[in-house]
């Protein structure tokens, strides 16, 4: 009964919305942070704006920011669907089960969930191979650190974040056998105060490079204040902290994907897919490497970027051992996507445990 009445309401409201607005397709976006975080959510919103720009009057977009993961997000998605959205992008890992739940009630609405693994006939997943960018950051970090201590602000110990730590660590160790990683978990995607505290604590422990897997620019500001510390823009360029502390960045470019998926809905060709693109197809960009990085290091980093883009080099190429010393990848072997997607272990040399 419940489901039927909701669907009936949805269909009715789609009709009303379409008639009133004359846009062919309405696209909704659910954001975990504010659009002004200049990180993760900012880039998703840039993608949304690109969709508006590209399609003009044919497409209308709506968004909701600061949506907590969990039961609240389910309501937000339902309201979007009731309001007549045809395609809804849910842009945080914690929206996974809610997306599936809401998608069940609205079989005619298409959903796209970022960074998750649950799919359905009307739910696609998409993510970017951020770890490719982490390899380049690790290389620069290993070369640049004088204290041999690199700080890493982790959000949640989910495979995506653990993968980034491993990728950065492997490439830092490769160029600097003495480098150590100090990892702090703060259990939030966006909390400038916590992020600043974590960065300050790491800097006080002697870290002169701070990597972050959180969405605000607070760690950049903390590093700038401390001086002599370098950082990398996360998810977005964070260009206002150039040339130091921010010496480079990983930029997520969702615009081409969002435009392609919206086009598919317009054409009626949308199907449930799983997309995981990296530097090659342009979903992951590397922001300008500033003059604070020595020219030779910069050249090496860019060479690595090109090799990854062309497919000549995979950041997880053996020999790589797991933290306990057991062999993960033999010499020359590359990691398969399945293992990477479920990665919940550190590679050899990292101190501490993945929180359990």
């Amino acid at each position: 009964m419940y489901i039927k009445s909701v669907i009936a309401g949805a269909i009715a409201s789609v009709g009303i919305a379409a008639a009133a607005l004359a846009a062919d397709v309405k696209v909704g976006f659910v954001y975990v942070g504010p659009v002004g975080d200049y990180g993760w959510t900012y880039e998703h919103d840039q993608g949304r704006l690109a969709v508006e720009e590209h399609f003009g009057d044919k497409v209308e977009t709506v968004y909701q920011e600061l949506v907590p993961e969990g039961a609240d997000s389910e309501r937000v998605m339902t309201q979007m669907a009731l309001q007549g959205a045809d395609l809804i992008f849910t842009t945080s890992f914690g929206y996974m089960e809610p997306t599936i739940n809401v998608a069940e009630k609205f079989p005619n609405v298409k959903f796209e969930h970022a960074t998750g693994y649950m799919r359905a006939d009307n739910v696609s997943t998409y993510s970017a191979r951020f770890y490719e960018g982490r390899a380049i950051q690790g290389h620069i970090a290993g070369k640049m650190t004088k204290t041999n201590k690199v700080g890493y602000i982790g959000s949640f110990p989910i495979p995506e974040v653990v993968r980034g730590i491993n990728s950065a660590f492997i490439h830092a160790r490769k160029v600097n056998p003495d480098v150590e990683f100090n990892i702090v978990w703060i259990y939030t995607w966006f909390d400038p105060a916590k992020e600043a505290d974590a960065a300050t604590a790491l800097i006080e422990q002697g870290c002169d490079v701070v990597l972050q897997h959180t969405d605000s620019t607070a760690p950049q500001a903390a590093a700038e204040k401390a001086g002599g510390v370098i950082t990398f823009g996360q998810a977005s360029d964070m260009a206002m902290f150039k040339p130091t502390p921010r010496v480079s960045s990983i930029i997520d470019d969702w615009a081409p994907y969002y435009i392609a998926r919206t086009q598919a809905v317009l054409d009626g060709t949308w199907t449930s897919t799983d997309t995981w693109d990296g530097i090659g197809p342009g979903m992951v960009g590397i922001g300008e490497i500033t003059a604070a990085v020595p020219a030779d290091v910069k050249a090496e980093a860019l060479a690595m970027k090109d090799a990854i883009a062309s497919g000549d080099y995979h950041p997880f190429t053996g020999p790589i051992n797991k933290q306990d010393g057991s062999v993960w990848l033999a010499a020359g072997e590359t990691a398969d996507d399945g293992t990477l997607l479920g990665m919940n272990f550190y590679v050899e040399g990292i101190n501490g445990d993945v929180p359990q």
Binding site: S5, V67, A71, G342
Partner: protein, 358 residues
């Protein structure tokens, strides 16, 4: 000009009038805020307060959601009101809420995939017990060592959050979850699911418990000696002592009942609307309930109404964001104003405004 004169006694009239005045001032100030943001203030206020209840497109969905959102707030706030009346300040309901959810979910997952009618009632007991035990820590420390329960209960929220993160990735992690954190979805486990009692009403077992608690609390506070003791301890601690009220028992009662009710709220949430133990499971109900308790004047019926009102501002606020593209921060600001103006208008309960020159 204006002069404030302290009233010999709190004005009963103003105690009940000030929440309404605060809501009106919030609407006006919020309207100004939305106008500055370039939106029609009347439309924005209508979307927040009216549309979730009566809009033809949304109301059939958002009206039940009002109960879903208000249920835990009311349940927790009722528990807190006992302590707040007696001068026992439990600020850590959020932690007790988390522990109730963990206890309840653990019990369910221990039985998974067995189906039995007994599982859900056992989960209710486990949830209440989890919150109760977590509330007993500050109670014990206060009774034995005279520690400050505000600090201890608040700090225990962060401990509970860490435990939540730990079990999400370890003990309670879904074995079929590809290594991702988060438990199995209890909504899909029939014996453990906290379902709607009447379909499409939003009325799940937790909401029913919240309503029962309102009645129970009304009776305790007005008809039972424990209610009298609580009021007396809060208003005249020395008199309470002379009349034989045991302060330790009072602390244990207040923290115990608020802990147990917060734990219940957490259990109903994890088995129902949320479905899963995840790292971000808690979404601030324990803290928001403090506002609900004060907005409701620590009175059971008041809490029932204020819980519904706060739930309305959440759901209406989400709608306003969606319909008008208002920034999320403006909605949070709007909700913050409500508490701010409530505290401000409470001035009239304790002071009289005199207009004159001297």
């Amino acid at each position: 000009m204006f002069k404030l004169e302290k009233r010999p006694q709190q004005s009963q009239k103003w105690i009940y009038l000030s929440p309404f005045l605060a809501v009106v001032i919030t609407m006006i100030s919020g309207g100004i805020l939305f106008a500055i943001l370039g939106e029609n203030p009347f439309e924005a206020i209508r979307i927040i307060f009216w549309d979730p209840l009566f809009d033809p497109n949304f109301a059939s969905y958002s009206r039940p959601q009002l109960l879903v959102k208000a249920g835990p707030l009311i349940l927790i706030a009722i528990g807190l009101s006992f302590g707040f009346k007696a001068g026992v300040w439990n600020i850590g309901a959020e932690g007790q809420y988390i522990m109730g959810a963990i206890f309840g979910a653990s019990l369910a997952l221990a039985f998974y995939p067995m189906e039995s009618k007994l599982i859900f009632p056992l989960m209710i007991i486990a949830g209440a017990l989890g919150g109760f035990l977590w509330g007993m820590i500050p109670a014990f420390l206060k009774a034995k060592l005279n520690t400050n329960e505000i600090l201890v209960s608040l700090m225990l929220v962060y401990v509970a959050e860490s435990i939540l993160a730990s079990v999400s990735q370890g003990l309670l992690k879904n074995p079929d979850g590809y290594g991702f954190p988060g438990s199995r979805n209890l909504q899909k486990y029939e014996s453990a699911a906290n379902v709607e009692i009447i379909s499409n009403s939003g009325m799940h077992w937790g909401v029913l418990f919240a309503f029962i608690t309102v009645i129970f609390s009304y009776i305790v506070l007005t008809r039972h000696i424990q209610g009298f003791n609580i009021q007396l301890t809060g208003e005249a601690p020395r008199a309470a002592k002379f009349s034989g009220v045991n302060p330790t028992a009072n602390i244990v009662f207040c923290l115990g009942i608020s802990g147990a009710l917060a734990g219940l709220a957490g259990m109903f949430e994890v088995a129902g609307p949320s479905g899963q133990i995840t790292i971000e499971f808690n979404s601030g109900y324990g803290f928001t309930a403090i506002i609900v308790a004060f907005l409701g004047r620590l009175h059971p019926i008041g809490i029932l109404l204020s819980g519904l009102l706060i739930a309305l501002t959440y759901i209406g606020g989400e709608l306003a964001q969606l319909m008008l593209g208002l920034p999320g921060a403006s909605i949070q600001l709007f909700q913050g104003m409500l508490l701010f103006f409530l505290l401000a208008t409470d001035l009239f309960a304790n002071y009289r405004v005199k207009i004159g020159t001297n």
